[in-house]
Amino acid sequence: MTSKEHSGGGSQLEELNGFTNPGLPEHKPRLADSDPRAEKVAERQVAAWFILSMIGTIWFIVAYFLFTPGESMQSIRLHNMFVGLGAAVAMFSIGFGAVLWAKNLMSDHEGIDERHDIGGSEEDQAIALEILHQAKEESGIARRPLLRNTLIAALAIAPLPAVLVFRDLGPLPGDKMFNTLWQKGTRLIRDVGGIPSVDSERPIKADEVTIGSAYHVLPSGIGDEEASEHPLNEKAKAAVLLMRIDPKELKEDPDRKDWSHDGIVAYSKICTHVGCPVALYEHQTHHLLCPCHQSTFDVTEHCKVIFGPAKRPLPQLPITVDSEGYLVAQSDFPEPVGPTFWEINHP
């Protein structure tokens, strides 16, 4: 490394690595400095921007009272627009004018900022070392290994209580990931948005589900305060999509043939990729599309994945009809719903 000069500025360095220092470019005077007419124009420009800012402020105040929001969407929109414009013009113009003032009119003297060494001087470094040395001597830590070792041991185990404190932040999930509200005999009810109260539940009869239908379904009792403590969390696991397909087109596994009822099939709505609701049902192609990452499931083959990043097919809810003709679940899902998680094979 060639040695560099450190006193003075870079402009004093004559040569480095074979390149001569071209020096700083010549100072060019601005229009406002050389031409008094240009100076006046520049001054008026800056003043104009500041006056514009005042207009913006007054506009804000006038618009605040002129366009009162609340009567209609249009009134809110107008209020937002005009008040916002006033504030934007007011603030922006001050800044723009200030920058114009600095660029065109303020002193254009060019200065040099020195870059000094970061490290301290030789003297300072020696003094610092001496202080450390004295500290070591006076504390006697080198001569007293018992004190040193017990101090290190105490400091090492001091953070351990934090582990317990963090673990205490919330309850462990237990078996919540493996179970949903669905049980043997739970009726399928319509999802109309939100959580339906127990009195307003609308169960579904098998003959109401015609070929090409898509029903959004929740388990009966989800609105019951005793049965489901956190109904929205339960809904996020228990949401189901009910469809009816011509039985001739269904290609069912022999051991799952009784999970459907006369072509009516029910599948979990929670995508096995990252958990978006898979409800884009194309009834002619029998494909279910997830809008988030475009995982596509084939409903005629137990919702196996035919495209996209999902790796597991959607879990199927086994259904049948009860004595009154309403659709009911035969049991909970045979596997956990939603995205795959670490413990999924070890309940």
Partner: protein, 261 residues
């Protein structure tokens, strides 16, 4: 005129001339194209006869002489007047080109002819009828309840305010903001192409009216935030701010540190 004459050899003169030519021809076309007339009509035996003739001339090639279907088009026995009114009324049928989905275009038949076709197809087998006016009156519907139903049943394909969305392989759920109440109802009732069929047990006529009230509420009212940017959400908004907002910021930054004249 001297101003124009002086610039006749300007490189942009050709562009300007092209623009004028395009505007003139386009304007003339728009002025002179026919628009379909509107006439209401109730079904009668003569309607069915007329409908049969129209069907034979325009639909039978793909749907079969007796609407029994063929390789080119499905059978229409039992689809009902609602399906015909929707498909023909929105211009989707007669299909002009094969593709993943029938596109909306200028309807080929006027209201009277559409009603005749609908009457003929309805006579072939029982199916959903054209909805009654009381279920199409958005003012009688509850947009809040409709919003809940829309978000649960429709928003995943059509977007939360009905701006439309993509499906697989070139299919799409169209924008609902310009669709009439009648066509909205009929689409829910008959489930055109890949749209699920929402029969009256799934969404009752009152439910459908609530959904229509919601769609009309969000489509007809201005957004309180200003430009909707197509109501497409983060993608449109992101594009806007990256193109215009960031460009402005970069421009200002460059100007800020540039040398004054």
């Amino acid at each position: 005129m001297k101003l124009l004459a002086d610039r006749r050899r300007h490189p942009m003169a050709l562009v300007a001339l092209l623009l004028v030519g395009l505007l003139l021809t386009g304007g003339a076309y728009a002025l002179f194209t026919q628009t379909s007339s509107a006439k209401a009509d109730t079904a009668s035996a003569s309607d069915i006869e007329e409908g049969k003739k129209l069907f034979a001339a325009n639909c039978a090639t793909c749907h079969g002489m007796n609407a029994e279907g063929s390789k080119a088009g499905p059978g229409l026995i039992g689809v009902g007047a609602a399906a015909v009114d929707f498909q023909v009324g929105t211009g989707r049928m007669p299909l002009q080109a094969n593709g993943p989905q029938a596109r909306v275009k200028e309807p080929q038949f006027d209201e009277e002819q559409t009603a005749q076709l609908a009457a003929y197809v309805a006579s072939l087998g029982p199916g959903p009828a054209v909805p009654e006016d009381e279920y199409l009156d958005a003012s009688k519907g509850d947009p809040a309840a409709g919003g809940g139903l829309f978000r649960t049943n429709c928003a995943m394909c059509h977007n939360v305010v009905g701006s439309g969305g993509a499906l697989t392989r070139g299919k799409y759920a169209p924008n609902l903001s310009e669709v009439s109440e009648k066509h909205l109802y009929e689409a829910m009732q008959t489930g055109p192409q890949n749209m699920p069929i929402f029969n009256d047990a799934n969404l009752t006529p009152e439910d459908k009216r609530d959904v229509i009230a919601y769609v009309k509420e969000v489509s007809d009212n201005p957004s309180p935030g200003g430009f909707k940017l197509g109501s497409l959400g983060p993608v449109a908004e992101g594009l806007f701010i990256w193109f215009f907002g960031l460009a402005a910021v970069i421009g200002l930054t460059v100007w800020l540190s540039s040398r004054a004249k």
